[in-house]
Amino acid sequence: MAKGIRDKVAILGMGCARFGERWDKDEDQLMLEAYAEAVADAGIEASQIDAAWLGAAFDAQNIGPSGIPLAVALRLPDIGVTKVENYCASGTESFRGAVYAVASGACDIALAMGAEKLKDTGYGGLPVRTRGTTFDMIGITGSAPGNFAQLASAYRGVHGVGADDLKRAMAHVSVKSHANGAKNPNAHLQKAVTMEQVLNAPMIAEPLGLFDCCGVSDGAACAIVTTPEIARAMGKTDIVTVKALQLATSNGWEMQASGWNGSYFHTTRVAATKAYEEAGITDPRAQLSLIEVHDCFSITELVTMEDLHISKEGQGWRDVLDGFFDADGRLPCQIDGGLKCFGHPIGASGLRMIYENYLQILGRAGERQRQDSPVFALSHNLGGMPNQNVSSIAIIGRADA
């Protein structure tokens, strides 16, 4: 029986490029920006890296396919570099590759890079793309807001929540994240917003208004991982280890069968249950110190609070309005500003979340540092649509926890 990943791998160093409209940078420069910080943090040289994983979703924008762009950008020493793509969960997927490589004993040190250059399309929002030859004939690609907005119509119906109540709770999600992002120099949007601004913003996809949506941006984030033993041997004392790393991928049940009601993420529920078990967490609402979730849209964050088994089903919107997830609440969510303020350079987002959790656990988060010494921090990185998706969860924590 597999024992899971808990405490087998330590994070040696991390880095994160400034997210935003990086008109003057190519993706390889963004990757270098994240790498430079990570490699300095890790205290290693490129020659010590045994293997690398690159998470990038829209590789047709800027860098092109394969692991080569990362190898070239960093001039990696002819090691294996694997490009992974798993929709918006590509960042956590690259982390998973590096972590598993170290855990297997095949590598001493591995690198995970997530990067995306989305501001070369000529328009706002995600690039329009095919979902495959056959799917395009019978499926709906739609837009990301249009796909995720449907959660709201189902959530209202399933839980009997009024449209105004849900819209207000969704607005609180965004107001909270903007307040957090205002304190983060790496964020794309560093400006607070009011409930009125959010509620009165133009409609993008009913009922998601402009501020219910995260933007897209350019960015990169990087992690260098090794074993706790090697980290200690290198003189590291404050060690952050991987407690759980889970991925659940839809098999078509939600979209094609009849058991799913459209108001939640089946995959996130599965991945969360497995992740807590892997991490040895029995009461996530009490034991987690921080969470970074995939707040591509306010409604996504709201239902995810339930799917992570933190809020009771149908009650997440009340916890949100009660301030449970505010920076000074019991369990801060998106203390760095989240996708809402960083924007969503697809491949980079999952690693950006882990980066924030890593900084917070080490007490290095500056003005936005959570004061009560975080122990377990969860990141949730989701790709696809509510009815067909990839949900990934990474829990990291103090090695001694």
Binding site: I138, P145, A149, A205, M255, Q256, G262
Partner: protein, 479 residues
């Protein structure tokens, strides 16, 4: 009494009715003389409809409660066929999910296309589904724009218990060019109306009608319904008078509520006549176009035993008024709007994949697991059932006629759509099966979770780079 004749009939009218006053409000600065025609409304196809999708709806209307396996041949008549070389009737056949062992034929090239197709079927032996549809795009500010409307009709012809039988027919072919449209051209070119009336309708049709009545062995006053699909005011009455047919027999040309549906109009009017016909009634159908096709029918006692699903009257009642002439112009390609970069997405269809998946794509055929009864779309090798991923157990399960309900929905203003916002969501079929579908023909704010749906065959996307259009099924409000 012959056992061969018209077995069933149906029609289709797109839901949007453009107000002619709205057309004139925009165009009167240029074409003030059209003011007299600026009343009533015309049916206009949605952006995702063409003569194939409309013919299919008319066929579904006609074949309601009829075993589709009876159809041996599908004929599609139109002067606005979407494909010049890809059998349009074949697309209708696939969308009806008919077995592959049927014949098919496209008939085009004249305003008589549909009546010639019908006559061919009536003079043949096969059970033939004759469909006719027209989506014309007259020049803005033309008289033709005011007169035209989009509609479709379908008739099932064959042996059995016909509701109407052909008593006599007569055709005339002369190259009288009252108007024309070159192959590939968008618009018609019309000659002077007075000449067309006097030298065309009157001089060509009058003796032909007399010849038909002679062949049928009846006088004009024996005709109960005189169908003349001509949009010119007074022409049907003039022809009736010359033939000794009573004024009361002259059928409503549907000008006020629909407009003239080109080559399809004859069958649309025939379908309307059959809806109200009484046993023993004689119907004279007279279509004009480089000569004329004339048919004299007698309605049988079986009339009333076969009803279309909605029939023309039902379709006319399913109606949504529009005064948005600019939207119509845009949908017909007559007004180039800035569609944004999202519209640049390449909708290339892999014809190999379309062929492999044609039953799912064109017929909306899903799968049902013979072990668990699980219904799913699309069909797959491994069942989607949560607890039994049986392999290779699915049989074909047609979903097109299954009612469905809205499970989730959105109005997406970001995605490119010719008619924003783009409405789509998850839908559940009554009896099992779920899919994500586009919603079409929904009035603003009418979508809600649990709303009843009916699937309709529509254009999913245009591939402008290659001149191809992709068809698929969408969910419309139930009717």
């Amino acid at each position: 009494m012959s056992d061969f004749g018209i077995l069933a009939f149906g029609a289709y009218v797109p839901v949007t009715r453009l107000q002619r006053s709205a057309i004139h409000a925009t165009n009167k600065w240029f074409a003030k003389g059209l003011g007299g025609l600026a009343k009533g409304e015309k049916a206009i196809a949605n952006w995702d409809e063409d003569s194939v999708t409309m013919a299919l709806e008319a066929a579904r209307d006609a074949l309601d409660n009829i075993d589709r396996a009876r159809v041996e041949r599908v004929v599609m008549a139109s002067t606005t066929l979407p494909f010049a070389d890809r059998q349009n009737a074949g697309i209708v056949k696939e969308a009806l999910n008919l077995p592959d062992g049927v014949g098919a034929m496209d008939v085009t090239g004249s305003q008589r296309a549909a009546t010639s197709a019908l006559l061919g079927a009536l003079e043949g032996r096969a059970t033939t589904l004759v469909c006719a549809a027209e989506v014309t795009t007259p020049k803005p500010a033309s008289e033709r724009e005011m007169a035209a409307g989009d509609a479709a009709a379908a008739l099932l012809v064959g042996a059995g218990a016909p509701i109407a039988t052909l008593i006599a027919s007569h055709s005339v072919t002369v190259d009288f060019v009252d108007h024309f449209r070159e192959a590939g051209a968008a618009h018609d070119y019309d000659w002077e109306a007075r000449w067309v009336r006097d030298e065309g309708f009157a001089r060509i049709m009058t003796p032909a009608i007399a010849a038909l009545l002679d062949k049928g062995g009846v006088n004009g006053d024996a005709v109960d319904q005189f169908i003349v699909p001509v949009a010119v005011k007074g022409v049907p009455e003039m022809l009736a008078k010359k033939a000794g047919i009573s004024d009361a027999a002259v059928a409503d040309p549907l000008t006020a509520a629909l407009g003239h549906a080109g080559a399809a109009h004859a069958l649309v009017m025939l379908s309307a006549a059959l809806e109200v016909a009484k046993p023993g009634a004689r119907i004279l159908l007279a279509s004009f176009g480089q000569g004329c096709d004339l048919m004299l029918f007698e309605v049988t006692d079986a009339i009333g035993s076969v009803k279309p699903r909605l029939g023309l009257s039902g379709w006319l009642a399913r109606r949504s008024e529009s005064a948005n002439y600019a939207k119509y112009l845009s949908h017909r390609g007559l007004l180039q709007l800035d569609r944004g970069m999202r519209a640049e997405h390449d909708s290339k269809t892999a014809l190999t994949a379309l062929w492999r998946n044609r039953r799912a794509v064109l017929g909306l055929v899903g799968g049902r697991c013979i072990k668990t009864g699980t219904v799913q779309f699309p069909k797959s090798e491994v069942s989607v059932h949560a607890n039994d991923h049986a392999i290779g157990t699915q049989e074909d399960y047609p979903l097109a006629e299954m009612p469905a309900k809205v499970m989730t929905w959105t109005a997406d203003a970001l995605t490119y759509s010719p008619d924003p916002p783009s409405y789509y969501g998850n839908i559940d079929f009554v009896g099992g099966g779920r899919m994500m579908a586009e919603f079409t023909d929904f009035p603003d704010s009418a979508l809600q979770v649990g709303a009843d749906l009916r699937m309709m065959f529509r254009i999913k996307a245009f591939d402008e780079n290659r001149g191809f259009r992709r068809y698929f099924w969408k969910a419309a409000p139930a009717f």
